[in-house]
C-alpha cells in the first residue's frame, strides 16, 4: 500500500513536470528567438540596403548588389560636415557629462548636505520631461540671451546665433541625468570599508580615489559614457530646436529625405551599428580572457 501511494505521488507530480520541461526546452527559446528577430529585422534591412544598386533618388527598392555605397561612404554634399559635427558633439558632451555626472553621483551617495533630496529628484527631470518641451524651452532661453536684460550679461554671439555651443550645452544637460543615474546604481553596492582599508594602508584621499574607488566604479562610469555617447549621437528633437543652421547627422538625414534617400545613410548607419557590436565583442572577449587568467 505504501508503494501504491508513492507511485501515485510520482505520477501526479511528473505530469506538470514534463510540461514544465517542455516549456523550458521549446517555448522560452522560441519566444526569445521571435523577440530577437523583431529587434534585429530593421537593422538587417538597413545593412542589406547599404549594398543596393538603387535607381533614382530613393533607396527603397532592391535593384541589385553593389559595393558603391561602401566605397564612397561620404559622397554626398553636407554629409561629411554633419557627421563630423555629430561625432564632435557626442565626444565632448560625453566627456563633460561623464565627469560632472560621476562627481554628482558620488556626492549624492556619499555626503549629507542641504537640498540633497531635492537634487536627487531634480536630476530625474530631464529624463522625465518630453524632449519637445526641453528643446523649445532651451530655444527660448538661448534666444533670450540676445535680448534685454540678458544681453547685458551674456557675451554677444556666445549663445546666439545658435550653433555647436548651444547643441553641446543641451546634450551635456540631458546626458548628465543618465550618467548620474547609472553611476549611482554602481555606487549603491559599494563597500565603504574598501576606502577605509586603503586609507588605513597609507593612501591619502586622492590615491584612495584613483587606486580603489575609481577602478571599482569604472564599469559603471564606462556604461554611463557609452549611454551618453549613443544618446547624443542619436538625438534629433532637442538638437533640432537648438542647432540653428548647424547640421548634425540626424538633422541632415531629416533634411535630405524629403528629396532623396542616399545609400550613404545606410552605410553610415551600418558602420555605427557594426562599431557598437565590435566594441561589445571586444569588451566581452577581454573580460572573458581576464576571467580565464584568474
Amino acid at each position: 500500500m505504501a508503494t501504491a501511494t508513492a507511485e501515485g505521488v510520482i505520477t501526479r507530480a511528473s505530469a506538470p513536470n514534463r510540461i514544465g520541461r517542455a516549456v523550458e526546452h521549446w517555448a522560452l527559446p522560441a519566444v526569445t528567438a521571435v523577440a530577437m528577430i523583431y529587434l534585429l529585422i530593421p537593422i538587417v534591412v538597413m545593412i542589406i540596403f547599404s549594398f543596393n544598386d538603387y535607381q533614382g533618388k530613393f533607396n527603397f527598392i532592391w535593384h541589385g548588389f553593389t559595393l558603391y555605397g561602401w566605397l564612397h561612404p561620404l559622397d554626398w554634399p553636407g554629409l561629411p560636415n554633419s557627421l563630423t559635427n555629430s561625432l564632435l558633439i557626442a565626444f565632448v558632451s560625453t566627456v563633460v557629462a561623464t565627469v560632472l555626472g560621476t562627481l554628482i553621483g558620488l556626492s549624492l551617495t556619499r555626503y549629507q548636505f542641504r537640498a540633497r533630496g531635492a537634487i536627487n529628484g531634480l536630476i530625474f527631470l530631464p529624463m522625465a520631461t518630453p524632449e519637445i518641451v526641453l528643446g523649445s524651452s532651451l530655444l527660448t532661453l538661448f534666444v533670450s540671451t540676445a535680448l534685454p536684460p540678458l544681453n547685458g550679461i551674456v557675451p554677444r554671439g556666445s549663445l546666439f546665433p545658435l550653433g555647436l555651443t548651444t547643441i553641446l550645452i543641451a546634450h551635456v544637460m540631458f546626458n548628465i541625468s543618465y550618467v548620474v543615474v547609472t553611476v549611482k546604481a554602481r555606487l549603491a553596492g559599494f563597500d565603504r570599508h574598501l576606502e577605509e582599508a586603503a586609507m588605513d594602508l597609507g593612501a591619502n584621499e586622492w590615491t584612495t580615489f584613483w587606486r580603489v574607488t575609481f577602478p571599482l566604479i569604472f564599469p559603471g562610469v564606462m556604461a554611463a559614457a557609452l549611454l551618453a555617447f549613443s544618446l547624443s549621437i542619436d538625438d534629433f528633437v532637442i538638437t533640432n530646436f537648438v542647432s540653428g543652421t548647424t547640421n548634425t547627422f540626424p538633422i541632415w538625414v531629416w533634411g535630405i529625405i524629403k528629396n532623396a534617400l542616399p545609400v550613404q545613410i545606410n552605410v553610415v548607419g551600418s558602420i555605427v551599428f557594426l562599431s557598437a557590436v565590435a566594441f561589445v565583442a571586444l569588451t566581452t572577449l577581454r573580460s572573458g580572457r581576464a576571467a580565464r587568467i584568474r
Binding site: 570599508h193 582599508a197 586609507m199 584568474r294
Partner: protein, 373 residues
C-alpha cells in the same frame, strides 16, 4: 621595558542623540594582546574605529606611542586594521593587496617589496597565492590575506575588528591559535574586538569587558572569570549563580553573608569591602553535590537543595538545584566517578551543596541589569 602603546583619555563618541562611547580611559601596553569584549552595540567597534582614525571622537584624547593622533587621518597613523569582512580590494590580486601599503609608502625597490610580500605570505601560510583574486580564495584564506596586508607595514598597533566572525567554528578555533602564534612571532600590539567571550579568553593578555559605551571591568582572563565585579561581567563570561544576601559580621579572614534562606556563607573579607547589600557568586563547576547525611568539611560553605533537573552532556552533567530559599543554582559535575546514568542524582533528591569560600566572588552593585547574558 614595555611602555604604553595606546592611550585613550576620556574618549566620548556621540552619534546624534546616541552615546556610543562614554568616557573611556584605556592604556594598552606595548606587545600586548588586548581585547575589547562586549555585546553588539556596546561601543567596542566604535572605540576601535577611533583608534584607527575612521571616526573622530566627540571629545577626549587618543595617543599612539606618546603622540597625540586624535585628529590625524588613518593614513598618518602607524596603525593597521583587519576589517570585519576583510575589505580586500576585489580588483587587485592577493600580491597587489598585500603590497598596497608598501607601495604607498614609496622609496622601496620592487625587489624588496617582492621579497617582503613573499615573506608575509609565508608567515600566514599562503605561499603561491600571489596571482589569485580575492573572489577565488576561501574565507579563511581571505582572512589571512587581510592579516598579511596589515602586518606587512609593521604597524605599532594592529586593530582587529571581529576578524573571525565570518568563519565557521572549526576554522575559527584554528585561526585563534594561528593569530596568537603570529602575534607572538611579530611582537606587535594587537587590539582585538569580539563579542565571543571564549575567543577573547583564549587569546588575550588582558580584556576590557564593555557594556553601554564603557568597560565594566578590565583584567586578565583569569581574574575576570574568577572575580567578576559586576553582574554583567559575571553573566557575560561564563555562567554564574548569584545569591543576594546581606553582610552579617566577620569570621577571621572571612566576611559572613546571610543569604535569603538564612544560610550563612563565608567569603573573603576583602571582596565585601564594607558593603552591606551584596550578591554572592559561585561558578557552577565549583559547587560539590553530596548526600545531605554525609559529614561536610567545616572549611566549606554549605547549602541544602533539591535537584530539579539533570541533563547528561557527556563530559559533565548539568544540574539545576533549587535552594530552600527558592533560588535556582546551576551545578556542573564532571562525569569522572559517576559513569552511568543510574549513578547520577535524580530530580527530587535532596542534596547538600558545598564550595570553598575562596571560590566565591562578590558583586556589590545590586542594581538590576537587563543586559545580563
Amino acid at each position: 621595558m614595555p611602555g604604553v602603546d595606546v592611550r585613550l583619555v576620556d574618549v566620548v563618541k556621540r552619534f546624534g542623540e546616541t552615546l556610543a562611547v562614554d568616557h573611556v580611559n584605556l592604556e594598552v601596553q606595548d606587545g600586548e594582546f588586548f581585547s575589547l569584549l562586549g555585546p553588539s552595540g556596546c561601543g567596542k567597534t566604535t572605540t576601535l574605529r577611533m583608534i584607527g582614525g575612521f571616526e573622530e571622537p566627540t571629545s577626549g584624547l587618543i595617543e599612539l606611542q606618546g603622540q597625540d593622533v586624535t585628529w590625524l587621518p588613518p593614513y598618518k597613523r602607524n596603525v593597521n586594521t583587519v576589517f570585519q569582512n576583510y575589505a580586500l580590494f576585489p580588483h587587485l590580486t592577493v600580491y597587489e593587496n598585500v603590497a598596497f601599503g608598501l607601495k604607498r609608502r614609496g622609496g622601496l625597490k620592487d625587489g624588496e617589496i617582492k621579497s617582503r610580500v613573499g615573506e608575509m605570505l609565508k608567515l600566514v601560510e599562503l605561499p603561491g597565492f600571489d596571482k589569485r583574486k580575492p573572489n577565488q580564495i576561501s574565507g579563511g584564506q581571505a582572512q589571512r590575506v587581510a592579516l598579511a596586508r596589515a602586518l606587512i607595514n609593521r604597524p605599532a598597533v594592529l586593530l582587529l575588528d571581529e576578524p573571525l566572525g565570518a568563519l565557521d567554528l572549526k576554522l575559527r578555533k584554528q585561526m585563534q591559535v594561528e593569530l596568537k602564534r603570529i602575534q607572538q612571532e611579530v611582537g606587535i600590539t594587537f587590539i582585538y574586538v569580539t563579542h565571543d567571550q571564549e575567543e577573547a579568553m583564549t587569546m588575550s593578555d588582558r580584556i576590557a569587558v564593555m557594556n553601554r559605551g564603557s568597560y565594566e571591568q578590565l583584567g586578565d582572563p583569569e581574574s575576570l572569570y574568577e572575580r567578576p565585579t559586576t553582574r554583567f561581567v559575571a553573566g557575560f563570561l561564563g555562567v554564574s549563580n548569584l545569591l543576594p544576601g546581606t553582610a552579617d559580621g566577620t569570621a577571621g579572614a572571612y566576611a559572613v553573608i546571610r543569604l535569603a534562606d538564612n544560610t550563612r556563607v563565608r567569603v573573603p573579607a576583602a571582596l565585601v569591602n564594607g558593603n552591606h547589600n551584596v550578591e554572592v557568586g559561585i561558578r557552577p563547576e565549583k559547587i560539590r553535590l553530596a548526600n545531605p547525611d554525609s559529614a561536610a568539611s567545616p572549611e566549606t560553605n554549605q547549602m541544602r537543595g533539591v535537584i530539579k533537573d539533570a541533563s547528561y552532556i557527556g563530559v559533565s552533567t548539568q544540574y539545576i538545584v533549587e535552594s530552600r530559599g527558592g533560588s535556582q543554582l546551576t551545578v556542573y559535575e564532571q562525569n569522572v566517578e559517576r559513569a552511568t546514568r543510574a549513578e547520577l542524582w535524580a530530580p527530587g533528591e535532596e542534596v547538600a551543596l558545598s564550595w570553598t569560600p575562596e571560590h566565591t566572588f562578590v558583586i556589590k552593585d545590586t542594581t538590576p541589569h537587563d543586559a545580563d547574558n
